[in-house]
Point group: C2
Chain length 206, copies 2
Amino acid sequence: MNTNSGAILVLSGPSGSGKSSLIGVIKEHIGDHYFSISSTTRAARDGEIDGVHYHFLDEKRFKQEIEDDQFLEYAFVHGNYYGTSIAPVKQALKDGKLVIFDIDVQGADAVKHRMGDITTSVFITTPSLSTLKKRLSSRGTDAQDVIDRRLEMACREISRMSEYDYIVINDDLDHAAKIIIRVALAARLKVPTLQINEFVQQWEQS
Amino acid sequence: MNTNSGAILVLSGPSGSGKSSLIGVIKEHIGDHYFSISSTTRAARDGEIDGVHYHFLDEKRFKQEIEDDQFLEYAFVHGNYYGTSIAPVKQALKDGKLVIFDIDVQGADAVKHRMGDITTSVFITTPSLSTLKKRLSSRGTDAQDVIDRRLEMACREISRMSEYDYIVINDDLDHAAKIIIRVALAARLKVPTLQINEFVQQWEQS
C-alpha cells in the first residue's frame, strides 16, 4: 500500500529563498516524480519555454478552462492569471508519482484543501529579510520595483509560514538539501484515506 | 531552528505487528531520542524491569499523580491503570530529543491533542488478520484467551488507522524498517508553532 500510491509535495517560499535549487535536489533524489507546471496568461520572458517553465495560454483559453473546472487552483496576480490544471496531476497520482508543486501560499492552501490527506507542505525561507534583500539584489536580474514587490510579497507569505507541515531555513544549501530530501522521502509515503479504509475493510477478512 | 527543537513520534499497532522490532530500528538510527516509558499499576511480569519496561506504581501513588495532573495521558484498561508522566517528556523536548511513544489509539489521540504541532503518528500493522493470528500463536508466550483479547483489540484499533499520519504494513521487516526510518527522520524536523511564530517576528527585523 505504501509504495505504489501517489502523493503530493507542496513547496512555497519567496523568490530568492533558494527554492528552485532545492526543487532541483528533490527531482534528482525522487525518481518517480512529476513536477507540476503552472499555466499562465502572462507573456513568456526571455529564455522561458512553453511547457517547461509554464504553459502559456491566452486569456480566452484560460477563462474557458476555468469555466470547465479544469483547474486545481488558480489566481489572478498582478494582472495575469496563474493556475494548475488538474488532469496531469490526477494522471501522475494514478501512476504512483510524487507530484511536486512550486506554488504560493494561496495556491498551497487550495491544494491542501482539495488533496489534504496525501499532501505534505514545506515553506522555504532565508534566515532573515536582510539575507533575502541581499540575494535578490545580487542576482542583478530584476529592476528595483520588481525587487520591492517581491520583498513585500515575501513578508506577506512568511507571516503564514506556520500553516506548513515543515519549515526549511535555507542558510546553507547543503544542509537545506539534506532536510528537503528527508521531507520528500517521507512525503512519498502518504496514502489516501480512501485507500486506507479499503485496506481496513479487507484486513479483517484476510 | 529545524535541528535543535524536540519533536514527538507516536507509534501504535497491535501486539504481534512487529512494532517492538521497528522501535528498536528507530532507536538505533535516531541518536538523540528519548523512549517514553509508561507507568502502570499492573504487576510486573517475569523478566520485566522497573524503569525499563514500565514504571511500576501502586494504585495510591498513581491516583495521586492523576490528581496532581502529572500525566500527559492515562487510561484504565483490563483492571489496571496505564499512563505517561509529562515531566520526562517535557525535559526530553527541551533537550531537543525525538520523544518516541509506544501507545494505544486512545493514548495517541491524547498526545496528538496536547502536542499536535510537533507530533507525527504512525500505525504499524500486519498485512492481514490471519498473519496477526499466526504471529501471536507462534510466539507461544500467551494463553489462548490472551491471544483472543489481543485480536479483538487489534480489530478495534485497526478501524481507526486512518487517523494516523503514516501507515506501515509490516510484511517484510527490512522494507518496513526502511519506511519507519524515513518517517522518523522527517518527524525529527517538526517545529513548534510557537517557535515558528517567534522566527517570523524576528525575520522582518533582521
